[in-house]
């Protein structure tokens, strides 16, 4: 299959990437775009480590084809904050709660949580647990992650009010 130019928005900037359209989007992001923060663990859309946002909606980039990004807005963990700038509240809260250990799942959790908080700015614990059930962590358990998401939600609400 010949390579094509795939145009999309990646973390806020327009990109045009030459790739095979039926290759996994995760490969394109990691190899052609250099976004190593997109982790690939299970390669079967089960674990959620490769979660990105496509037009604001969470998606497993290992189970998407590259062509499915055409014309879309793709957000990865690399776009959450820029070097030298303040961390995203989710990143801050994850760090404060030590909501990671090996780190393989963390990028996916951060992106999933971003999508959650965009839809539920004041999520209750049940809603957080239901959303986070999409992703798997085998190090920390989920208590610290849930606490971090709760704190990030509060920080984001406070930022909005400030």
């Amino acid at each position: 299959m010949p390579a094509e130019t795939i145009r999309f928005t990646l973390d806020g900037r327009e990109v045009a990437v030459t790739a095979e359209p039926a290759e996994p989007l995760a490969n394109l992001l990691r190899e052609a775009c250099g976004i190593q923060g997109v982790r690939v663990a299970c390669s079967r859309a089960v674990c959620g480590a490769c979660t990105i946002l496509v037009d604001g909606e969470p998606a497993a980039s290992c189970a998407m084809f590259a062509y499915q990004a055409e014309g879309r807005a793709v957000e990865t963990v690399a776009g959450l904050s820029q070097p030298g700038q303040a961390l995203h509240p989710l990143q801050e809260a994850f760090a404060r709660h030590a909501a990671f250990q090996c780190g393989t799942c963390t990028a996916g959790f951060l992106m999933l949580a971003k999508a959650l908080l965009a839809r539920h700015p004041e999520p209750d614990r049940a809603t957080i647990a239901e959303w986070l059930s999409s992703n798997i962590c085998r190090c920390t358990g989920y208590g610290a992650i849930i606490a971090a998401v709760e704190e990030a939600a509060a920080m984001m609400r406070a930022e909005k009010m400030a």
Partner: protein, 264 residues
Amino acid sequence: MRASAHGLIATTIATAPRAELRRAASVPEALDLLALPGAVAVAGGTDLCAQYNEGAQPARLVALDAVEELRGITVAADEIRIGALTTHAAGSTSAPLRAALPGFPEAWAMLANPRVRFRATIGGNLMARRTRYEMSLLLTALGAELRFAAPGGGVVAASAHDLWEGRIPQPALLHHIAIPRRRGARFTYQRALRPQLTLALHLHDAGGLAAIGTEWLRPVALPPDDDTLSALPGSFADPVISHWYARRAGATLLRRAREALDAR
């Protein structure tokens, strides 16, 4: 990375031979492309990923994203039409659907996880023909029709049972699902015993229908007032649940379903 995918490592879309991508812009074009050797339809692609893991290596992917005719939910006087490309997220949050068929969007919202819901479609859920996917059970209770695009134009209707029996047009392109509208319709889905047993109940002023299924068995339609599940076929058993258990537990689920609807 191009592993050979032998041994304990499953094939993935990264390791399988790369398929040719064809983009369909219309229903007739999609049918033409799906008639090509080794062609498979791609909607959200979430189940196709699982199929790759199971060894599928399609030669051609037919992208349906641009076929707008397959999208959307329409509520008419006599039926509800749900386009095959409707995602779980869109369907389960549809206000018109909620108004027309209370309980069904809530049941739909139970399927999959939040990440999958935004990409996976009702068409993919059905066409995957996996007993652990639950939409065919919900639609069995609703007496829904699956309407497939016909090569000469128009649609060909099939039931959820026909889908399981393989009695569907080829090449198969699910166009939309049609749910008949009934006065006083209400719906509930009892899922607490999943994966062993789940039950959907659809009641309306003129009667209703229940449907029961398991992770491994095709859904079966039952009369809604069959308190002992006497109509459950003797073959309804799997390695996890016996027929006796299915009848006992199913009767409990049916009672709970009726109570849930009465409480509304």
